[in-house]
């Protein structure tokens, strides 16, 4: 068990954050640190916009940084569970990015 960081890009909608946090509790994972920002600079997420064929607009998406203590196998499960949430657009750790169910080798975040 080591401390790992993961990053989420999600829709900035009421109730979206609590779904993410609730999932950690529900599945028995613990959050060590949590940071949330509304994204205003979309340049780093151009690739996501291209892949989803969409355009992010002001105040539309949030970026979450979460640190958690988990094993490798559990980490993969967390990524997949988070990505299953309807409001979550992409989730990534150091190695991989899940973009709406598609596992990408490159780190988009």
């Amino acid at each position: 068990m080591i401390k790992r960081k993961l990053i989420l890009i999600m829709e900035n909608k009421p109730g979206a954050l609590v779904r993410v946090i609730g999932l950690f509790h529900q599945r028995g994972y613990n959050i060590e640190t949590l940071h949330v920002d509304v994204v205003e600079d979309f340049a780093p997420y151009k690739l996501i916009e291209d892949r989803l064929d969409t355009k992010f607009e002001s105040n539309q998406i949030s970026r979450l940084t979460i640190q958690t203590m988990v094993s490798d196998i559990l980490m993969r499960q967390i990524l997949r569970q988070l990505n299953k949430l309807i409001d979550v657009i992409a989730v990534s750790n150091e190695e991989a990015t899940y973009l709406k169910g598609v596992l990408l080798d490159e780190n988009l975040l």
């Binding site: 109730g15 609590v18 989803l52 993969r76 499960q77 990505n83 309807i86 899940y98 709406k100 596992l103």
Partner: protein, 570 residues
Amino acid sequence: MLLHALHDEGVELIYGYPGGTALHVYDAIFRQDKIEHILVRHEQGATHAADGYARATGRAGVVLVTSGPGATNTITGIATAFMDSIPMVVLSCQVASHLIGTDAFQETDMIGVSRPIVKHSYTVFDPNDIPKIIKEAFYVATSGRPGPVVIDIPKDMTAPENLFDYQYPDEVSIRSYNPPIDPDQSQIERAVEAIIKSTRPVIYAGGGAIGSNAEDVLYELNEIMDAPVTNTLMGLGIYPATHHRFLGMLGMHGTYQANMAMHNADLIIAVGARFDDRITNAPSKFAPNAKVIHLDVDHSSVSKIIEANVAVFGQVKNSLQAIKETLKERIKDYDKEALEPWHKEIKEWKSMHGLNYELYKDESDSHQILPQAVVQHVYQITNGDAYVTSDVGQHQMFAAQYYHFDKPRRWINSGGLGTMGFGLPSAMGVKLAFPDEEVLCITGEGSIQMCIQELSTCLQYNLPIKIININNEALGMVKQWQDMNYGGRHSESTYKDSLPDFVKLAESYGHVGIKIEKNSELKSGLEKAFAMKDKLVFVDIYVDPSEHVYPMLVANNSLEDMWLSKDKKT
């Protein structure tokens, strides 16, 4: 407005119960005739009825309830649908927007309460959004891995003075939701390669295969492969139970041959099944020599419990189709004959034990009725072609073991959550969907009392379902575990002297009741019940209370370790 949107979505039936915050909607229901509303007697019954309707038809079930207690009463039903991936849309009304957060009368944070057990949920903040939210909710509920969706609707959102241009969206797209449909061909090729190399394959199909309507393509694929097939409790009917390659159900109370075949397989093809703990027993001891091909629409189900060697994401129907096509192209590499020794071994397992009750069954009046015999007679009388709902416990397992389903969507039970009280209301939902079909509920005297109030709904809407109450005068499965693991101490699992007279109870609700206590009355009594086509008949059958369900897996061991009877272990 709301009803317009539901009608445009193709909804014909709503199950619900009115109350303060739902009154605008109920007034609109009164003033239209396109959507039929079924008034239940408890909101839990509404969710199970909608659930039964969804399981039988494949379409989303719709529930309408008021705020507060109306909403919280749906929770068990929503959780049941969530665990079994059943499409459902629950419209829960809410106190008016300006009252939210003030602890108003009948206010509950329904979105908060339901969050861990829904696929997604919506709150209506602007009445103009209603059509779009309804469209999205049905899309989310029915696509990908299906599940329940809650829409919370504050009272002012449905006020009749809200007038605006109504337009129902033709299509829907959610940029952050994109469930996989077609599989990746490279994974299909790896899967086919593994199938070609295997000499001891087993196809293990679950509820996801039924949800994806994969019965025909699964059958066609196995006409080529000729592999043994087992189904989970949720998957019964996806492959014909009377087919000679069918092994029966696997898992906790699965057949001897199904569990042995899984344990000794060199390849397991999981089709819309999730390696639940009732299936794997101890995951570390599960099928030690098997490679796993896992077909699923949900990424998070794959390699969650058992690591998959080949993961195929997509609608399992499409994935099976792709495997079939690719295997056909490589048919000259596939040696069906190589499976012969495997079939021979399985045949031996089948002949050795099977379902053990056959060995001691006694249908004379010197013995009490055995619960298995009840299900066997029901199976014969209905020609194996009825819709069978069940509750949870021993009767559920006996029904799963002895009613042989040849078609999908006929076996309707709460597999994942194990909800007692599910059987009667879900049977109502099925009967409303298919009024001309035989619908029966195999239940126990414990479960039936958890939603017995719906007998009144059955009278109101003239739903002539048949209730087969396997009455052992105790909470049978609890008692069985107490017999096996707690020295026979039957803590709070019996209530023999306080059971109601079910015949009189049925009669007081306006139905027919039949009591059966002797083996010699069993067949004729059941025939009499099924002959009353236009009546709900409650058949109360007293059975041997000491009977246990076998086989039963020995906890924390492999699938090879089973109790075959009270004193015989593998």
